[in-house]
Symmetry: C2
Subunit: 419 residues, 2 copies
């Protein structure tokens, strides 16, 4: 049988399971999560043995150390998956609530009821823990999920998916609500991308190449996040001590993540005072600076001239681009040109410019006097997230449980007709 | 220069204009709408003359009467476009409001600010008034719009687009916020579908063929509505007098629209009493019935046996499919199989089944004891709408001004950093 036929049958099963899951009680979904947390402890050896086979094969195939590291499940990661299940139990069920029920002039009560999206297809790369972390969010939001992980993690993912299905069955929920694509055949992704009749949304997580391929092929909506090129603009009226603390945190607290700072923009009026102090603070934190010609002499030793490609670049490392601007308009123009709609912050005590920046910066999170690192589901109060959307349709920013649902109109009448 | 290059340049201009429009005040946008309403009156002759050229060419090319009718602008339609401008002035500006601003434990204030989507591409067919009706909603929501109408309406659309641009300029807004694709070259649509770097969403309005082609080609999100196959289920405990009134209204009040009823499902317990009375009421309203074997003998003369393809069919006419079912579960199974996620209603006085149907029926509007005809932006309280989304991503149901926006996270801090 062809991969395309296999994928279609899998999608049909997911669609059928999604109908059942959409009507499941919050209690049943939480029973599933508790059962899964237990299985992640009691079946740990089996999962780690499967992972060891993946890791061994990857090393034999010459995979580089960072990728082997991402592929490897440790006891701490197993614990974290179980903890994630328990955290999601604590979040309220997003499904079935009705928002803003109000009467129309004819007496018809109109509101919006939260409903699951239906079937979500997750396509991801190395880390096997995504199999659990993504699936449990989708399932708590009442969606069936089709999981397509990296081929190098296939054995690990099969072991984890078996736990998902066992926990679903233990809670009286359909096991087909969580299905792993059991092949590393690349044709599987191409086939899934065309099944818009059954799959409501695809969420790719990984490098730009993977995401671009899914966006180009998919006939259903794609929730995506290409990259995080985050800027901070230090205004002429910034509190410079606060700005220094925030910039160092935004760049250096965890440089490998998408909400880390990649480019610092400083108003010319405060550059002579601010750049020397922030430059030495950043150097102490291990950060290398790549600066425009105006910033370079103010940053002291160790700073290098910025190349054109350093702007708009996601370093994912302890490297920061720096540029002096003459106005907030120039800073916003730079952000519009080089930003990635992820996170932009302003440091200022000037109320008018703070409000203006808040409105005009085009990003999923825009902040005043805070670190870019707050663009995160947990930090913004959504709980666990499945990724950060940098396009504006459906969700913009971290996607938590509510962002994995939709809302339908519900109307309660007593015989209303249209005249 | 190629059509693809032309389209890319148009999209770049739209992107630039969208930045300016995103920051425009509600007052400026309302000034534009008032100016446009005036121009639709003062320039009426020029528009109608352009339209007469389109109509003449269409007739010469042998276009059928219903399509010529859709293409023709009448004084009443011109008045309706001007009235639409004034109605939208009365709606509040959706942009810039901040929802649910709440403090996090660290004192960071987190909320969500409504922002425009950016650039919207509308692709539509015959009716030239869509050029105005769609554009004014997109623009009031702060979006730039690229308009691609039917080739048969090109002269009419050019005349209307000229008014849009003149009114934008009169209000101090960028004329490039409204651009008409000035060619009937089909390559233009193909090119637009690939410009996801500049265009945030495509909204196709027209037949299934047009929509399918856009969905298959587009690399950006598509907000679509394939068809409306709406059902009403008359439960064993329905108020039959109310049910009769609602069914006749849902089918016959305006049969050519997407929220008209296409299939009546009746519980077997009340079929012997209900079908004869609703059958004669529907016949009096001019409706032809296509019935299952159990319903057929109860409907009296004039009813014909339903063919399999009558289920799941959008008649757009005074024709209704009828089927007897033994339970609400059977009704919901029929709806899941044949429905189009548009509108489903139940007629019942049984509270438990009403609530169960509300949750389980999978459609953009689910109603209890009311006509399907209420699935409409105006009736549901959204004001004017740009269409009804039958997929769940971003919007589900009528899309008004708010559905033409997104929401970004905004954070107001006083130096917060992550620990």
């Amino acid at each position: 049988m062809s991969v395309a036929t296999d994928m279609e049958q899998m999608a049909v099963r997911a669609r059928d399971a999604s109908r059942l899951l959409a009507g499941a009680s919050g209690a049943a979904k939480d029973t599933f999560l508790a059962a899964l947390a237990d299985l992640l402890a009691t079946r740990r050896e089996a999962v780690m043995a499967a992972n060891a086979r993946d890791v061994e094969a990857a090393k034999a195939a010459g995979m580089d150390a960072p990728r082997v590291n991402r592929l490897t499940l440790t006891p701490a990661i197993m614990d974290a998956m179980a903890a994630a299940c328990r955290e999601i139990i604590a979040l309220p069920d997003p499904v079935g609530g009705i928002e803003a029920m109000r009467p129309r002039p004819n007496g018809l009560l109109v509101g919006r009821m939260r409903v699951p999206l239906g079937v979500i297809c997750m396509i991801y790369e190395s880390r096997p823990n995504v199999t659990i972390d993504a699936a449990i969010l989708c399932l708590k939001a009442g969606n069936a999920v089709i999981l397509k992980g990296g081929s190098e993690a296939l054995e690990s993912n099969k072991a984890l998916a078996a736990l998902l299905r066992e926990a679903l069955a233990a809670a009286g929920l359909p096991a087909d609500a969580a299905q792993l694509v059991p092949t590393s055949d690349r044709a599987a992704v191409a086939a899934l991308c065309k099944l818009d009749q059954y799959i409501d949304v695809i969420i790719p997580r990984g490098g730009e190449g993977l995401i671009r391929a899914v966006v180009d092929a998919a006939t259903m909506p794609v929730l995506k996040h290409f990259k995080g090129v985050c800027h901070a603009y230090v205004d002429a009226e910034a509190d410079l001590a606060m700005a220094e603390k925030v910039i160092v945190n935004a760049k250096a607290q965890r440089p490998g993540v998408c909400n880390a700072l990649e480019c610092l923009l400083v108003h010319a009026d405060v550059a002579p005072e601010f750049l020397p102090r922030v430059g030495s603070a950043l150097r102490r934190a291990g950060v290398t600076l790549r600066a425009c010609p105006r910033a370079l002499p103010l940053l002291g030793e160790g700073a290098a001239p910025a190349a054109p490609e350093d702007y708009g670049h996601e370093f994912h490392d302890l490297i920061l681009a720096v540029k002096v601007v003459d106005s907030m308009d120039e800073a916003l123009a730079h952000i519009h040109r080089y930003g990635s709609n992820h996170t932009e912050v302003i440091l200022t005590e000037h109320h008018g410019r703070a409000m203006d920046f808040l409105r005009r910066a085009d990003a999923s999170m825009v902040g005043v006097n805070c670190s870019t690192r707050f663009n995160d589901g947990g930090e913004l109060g959504l709980g666990a997230e499945i990724g950060i959307s940098t396009s504006k349709l459906h969700a913009y920013g971290p996607m938590g449980l509510v962002e994995l649902t939709s809302a339908k109109f519900v109307t309660l009448g007593n015989g209303q007709v249209r005249g």
